[in-house]
């Protein structure tokens, strides 16, 4: 199981690194709740706005 963990960890770190350097970085980390009209932690709109 240690070997599996080592491989999964390496793959995950490689994925994070490549995703980070190939994605646009626009500043402070955000949550979907920070966007206008968001009504839940996932950014779903409010029923009254639908």
């Amino acid at each position: 199981m240690r070997h599996v963990y080592a491989i999964v960890t390496l793959l995950a770190l490689a994925g994070i690194f490549s995703d980070h350097i190939t994605s646009p970085s626009i500043g402070r980390a955000v949550s979907p709740q920070d966007f206008a009209g968001a009504c839940a932690p996932c950014g779903a709109p409010c029923p009254s706005k639908k």
Binding site: M1, R2, V4, Y5, A6, V8, T9, L13, I16, F17, D19, H20, S23, P24, S25, I26, G27, R28, A29, V30, S31, P32, Q33, D34, F35, A36, G37, A38, C39, A40, P41, C42, G43, A44, P45, C46, P47, S48, K50
Partner: protein, 382 residues
């Protein structure tokens, strides 16, 4: 007498430390922290560090929502649940007034409707089969449980499936979030939140007494609750919202789905501004992902520092099947129910949002079903 038993306890513990995985945990945390600091994002780095602390604290205190709820439902033991309620009360003292008065901060809110109830109920079933909730999955994966690797993988898959289902469930109707501070102001909202937590704690305690069970939390659990509450306040300050776990899984799954050729970007969920931004931006631009990653490596560091890391064999196939089904149900349920124990229950109640209590009641109902299903997969009921 063997050499091991004749050694002082401190030396034995040192000999058991798994320095390779301690180094992996520390280096991985430094890498992620370094990447966000290069982008001049100290708050992002703070979220990773707080996540690391949360992982270590959860692991050391064995802070388990799943087991606490199961013990309460099966035996009436209320210690774990009462410690969780204490943690929520401590968090609420910071979240309710700050979120109600400072525009750069917000509470954890969610609409009330079919989606919330169905999602939380299904999550509760998955919690008992997966043997961990959102945070539990993170710290046990980090702690070296091979079984929970399956739970996490299927949690991520279920979360993406949930993202595709959520709009249809929202169309079934619902009402906007109900927040105590909107009606009673910051301090009135806090008072109402603390009173509601107190009432539930009293009910839980009375149930324990009537069933002749213990209502006293273990000392380590109580200390864990206080430390975790302090760290969650740190996550709130650094992220601007109460800590949430499962949106990170959805982002990871969404990105992996795109990588595998499944273009989910046109689905309604992924057209909402928040998810759309998260799908295209760096994974390290998402607050939930930062804390989640820190938590995994914090638990890994704490586990490897105390014993050989992940030494055991793989669990039986039936147990892995339960882990996979549990993960899938939790992922789907978390998206429909607007989070897990952390994001929906703890964050919701600590924000004074009514959805947190509805989520708790529905998930508790799901847990009773999940507990009945556990023996089918060779898992003990308790």
């Amino acid at each position: 007498m063997t050499a091991t038993t004749s050694e002082p306890a401190g030396q034995t513990a040192k000999a058991k430390r798994d320095w390779l995985f301690v180094a992996v945990a520390v280096l991985a945390t430094l890498l992620i922290t370094g990447l966000v600091l290069i982008d001049q994002q100290p708050w992002s780095a703070a979220l990773v560090i707080v996540g690391f602390g949360l992982g270590a604290a959860f692991f050391k205190a064995e802070f388990s929502f799943t087991a606490s709820w199961r013990r309460f439902l099966l035996k009436g033991e209320a210690g774990g649940l009462l410690a969780i309620l204490l943690m929520i009360a401590l968090l609420a003292v910071a979240v309710v007034p700050v979120a109600a008065t400072l525009p750069s901060f917000g509470g954890s809110i969610a609409p009330l409707g079919v989606s919330l109830v169905v999602g939380a109920f299904v999550f509760g079933i998955g919690m008992q089969l997966g043997n961990g909730c959102g945070s539990g999955t993170l710290y046990t994966v980090g702690g070296g449980s091979g079984r929970m690797l399956f739970t996490l993988a299927f949690f991520i898959v279920g979360s993406v499936l949930g993202s595709l289902s959520l709009p249809a469930f929202l169309n079934m109707g619902g009402i906007d979030p109900v927040l105590a501070s909107d009606y009673l102001g910051p301090w009135g909202g806090l008072a109402a939140t603390l009173v509601s937590i107190g009432i539930v704690a009293l009910i839980v305690q009375q149930i324990a007494i009537r069933r002749g069970a213990s209502a006293t939390p273990r000392k380590s659990f109580l200390v864990g609750a206080v430390v975790i509450a302090a760290l969650m306040i740190g996550a709130f300050i650094a992220g601007g919202h109460p800590w949430s776990v499962t949106f990170g899984y959805t982002v990871w799954g969404g990105k992996l789905a795109m990588l595998a050729g499944f273009d989910i970007s046109q689905a309604e969920f992924w057209q909402w501004p928040g998810p759309k931004h998260a799908l295209t931006d760096s994974v390290l631009g998402d607050t939930a992902s930062l804390t989640d990653l820190g938590m995994i490596f914090g638990a890994m560091g704490a586990a490897a520092f105390s014993k050989p890391f992940a030494p055991g064999p793989w669990p039986p196939l039936k147990s892995l099947l339960a882990a996979s089904i549990g993960g899938l149900l939790m992922g789907w349920g978390a998206r429909l129910g607007f989070g897990c124990n952390i994001g929906a229950f703890v964050g919701g109640v600590a924000s004074g949002s009514v959805h947190g209590w509805i989520w708790f009641a529905a998930a508790l109902g799901g847990c009773t079903v999940g507990i009945k299903l556990r023996p089918w997969f060779g898992l003990s009921r308790d």
